[in-house]
Symmetry: D2
Subunit: 263 residues, 4 copies
């Protein structure tokens, strides 16, 4: 419970973007948010809403379960997608494995601060050696089981690029060289605002997303890390308690989540 | 951060039922869970799923925001539903007020254990004085801001009643006398497996659900408390750290959640 | 175009039930109908609605495509479901085969009128020989390509049975002996208000629904036939022009429809 | 039943685009099409699909009910949207008014053929006087109650414009001068592939869409008219029987449809 000891001040920061019901280039299948209002006896009333979301992709903050992607060698733990992926859910490596919640140490690696630039660009992907440097500079020794959050400045990038980071033919992000970083540090979760840089030069279907099937590492895609970067700067520490409470979807390939950092 | 000090052993317990995609009497509008599978270049593949849920009602574990219900005197904080409830979301008392997460002390009040019976019945609703007694017996002094979880034995009840607790003309649960208990103890959240007993004799549209608009207390409906009751018994303590991380739905009337208790 | 010649008076009758957004025993996965309202420049406005429906089952008036069901011998035309049913749609026998619309002669076989009873019951399923008798009594000679609509009095049955016909452990309807009737008359479409009687005594997964894979006959399930029976009685003829315009869903297993009879 | 007399050869043509489940600039809220497969006793099986669609906009072929849009003077027939538009549906001018189906004479006005150009452009909107000319050239005398379909060459336009016609800041289409044409000819339905040209110079929230609230004329948006234009050319007649069978959605603001022309 070393992670719990990091929760000292009670300051909490959400790592979630808003539930993405507005269409955009990076949100081509917007979430549904429909309202309903009804009357109840004795002049009472009730408002309810429907939430629907095809959460993978570049808009929703969500966690990827280990069954989410694979390559020609198969899924995580050597499974065959034809055996695992069914019409009513998946059968292995599903998000319900984490239904009891994820509570671990989170560490933020702040790339823009390290570089002295507002955001990562197409020409300057994030490399594994750079993440090592940032951790060292921040005074963080990454430990097995850590959730590592890589902040690349997505909001600032979007401000300069028509409001979006993803959804186009290419996108800035992490270089495949981050995979050895993930492996050698034995982290349990990778969270990021920008994801794998695209296109990649390796003729791989997935580069950093390969952490799922290669190492059994969960991803938190589309995390909102700008407020967390600000908080880390103010708190002068880049480690915190992190809780992720995925919805208990039996057979799910992931879940929309609202990860919370606690200082 | 007294709540954090309760997380000592690292044992975590989910208070969430499974995402409710199967129809039943108490789940008349089942959640959507649809799978999708696609190919990616270089022999890769991906599985994704759509989740859709009209989460209020008696099936989904969810948190109620303060705009969810009202009576003839209006909504929480005196608001008028005609001003607040719009087609694209609500404007006041919405779930996004809690986007930074809820982390507080949770206490479980175990009614069946206190009574020596497996579950609460239609004839024996839970009263406020009884909750005081249970807290005292458990050695719990309820404090302002606590999340109070009232376990009434829903799973055992369902086993004896065709697999369901709710959805019929009546249902066992908490008596309106629990409202003063909630108020005088100044709790912040009420979680429960059974909800307000129905019908009620007061010609009120809402009895215990009235905690929302009367006191500004959030509710966690359809919590799964049987495993928590077991854990509390084994741990020999009825208090723990509780985290609830609602989805960040702007203008939402609540959110499906997976509350996690940490011992 | 003999069917067109039947459209003489211009009287039209819908064979569709209302879009089924209200839960019931026979509608365990209700359709979604959510409203949305927004403003436009210069004080304009717009209202839009979302329609979502899992249309197979016992609530929605819909047409079944030939890929909808199968038995141990496979699908229509000998196809293997493992080859045909994919995550983004089916590949053979799909509803888009009928995208240019169905326009044919429709004939109504009015079972309650023939029997002098208000509706078919569990104990008295509709048999194939009875359908022959009804056609003869109505002066109808069934021709290849006809759409045959079998009215069994579902609305009257529901009035006497808690508001529902389907969704329980058993339901009245057509006996497996109707299959030879369908085959020997070479009809193209079978429409019905009640469907296959259940349970069946033949250890078959599908009885009359077997018309899909055995003969390549489309079904129109949950047709509303009471108004049509009334119109046929008033018009003193049991044949009419019928148009069914399925939605153009590529790879769909069917479509919600509103079949229209024209006298 | 003059319309029926136009159905002579039995050639049928669908005026519907494919159910639009693929995202694009003109389909920012794609329809849902999810598959489901399950087993049945005795080695049987079943495939079902969920269809969900927010059908207004520029992707789905659909009919607009009279409650769909309004301007500062209110809705069709002088109604106030605050009275009409509710959370569970609209109360006036709804699509269920047409549940018994629409069967009328359809006429196609082929603008590209008349102009000798492949499609209408931003600079050359379709004017009312031009529609009069086209009808005369085609030998069509427009009659009260006709469904007038204006073909502007959307598919050819899309081929030259990145695959889309709509969804951008402007779009080619019909000029506001078509409104008097609609009124003076007393047509009942306007169908079109391109819709109102945008932007418009009149500071109106809606130009040709104003036919809804100004005249009580239904619109069929996003009709697929290229195949119909081809058929009219081959058949050498621009009139045909048209059937539109909207889904019976109580309180709906319209419906996805598959209009069928019969020659």
């Amino acid at each position: 419970m070393a992670a719990v000891a990091l929760a000292r001040s009670g300051r909490t920061v959400s790592l979630s973007r808003a539930f993405p019901s507005t269409p955009s280039q990076e949100n081509p299948r917007p979430a549904h948010h429909y309202m309903w209002r009804d009357v109840r006896p004795h002049d009472g009333g009730v408002a309810m809403d429907y939430l629907g979301v095809f959460y993978h992709g570049t808009a929703t903050t969500h966690i990827d379960a280990l069954c989410h992607v694979w390559d020609s060698n198969g899924m995580w733990d050597g499974k065959n997608p034809d055996d695992v992926i069914g019409f009513t859910g998946a059968k292995y490596g599903t998000v319900d494995a984490w239904s009891d919640g994820i509570l671990t140490r989170g560490v933020l690696l702040d790339v823009p601060k390290h570089r002295g630039t507002p955001y990562v660009t197409m020409d300057t992907p994030v490399h594994g050696w750079e993440l090592e440097e940032i951790a060292a500079q921040e005074g963080i020794e990454i430990q097995p089981g850590d959730a590592v959050l890589v902040y690349s400045g997505r909001e600032a990038y979007a401000l300069d690029n028509g409001g979006v980071w993803g959804g186009g033919p290419g996108r800035p992000g992490l270089h495949a060289s981050c995979l050895p970083f993930i492996r050698s540090n034995d982290i349990s979760i990778l969270g990021w605002d920008m994801m794998d840089a695209a296109p990649n030069e390796y003729e791989l279907p997935w580069t950093v997303h390969g952490a799922i099937f290669a190492y059994g590492v969960a991803l938190v895609d589309n995390a909102l890390l700008e407020p967390l970067a600000k908080a880390c700067g103010e708190e002068q520490r880049y480690e915190f308690m992190l809780t992720i409470n995925p919805l208990k979807v039996i057979g799910g390939t992931g879940s929309p989540v609202n990860p919370i950092a606690v200082f």
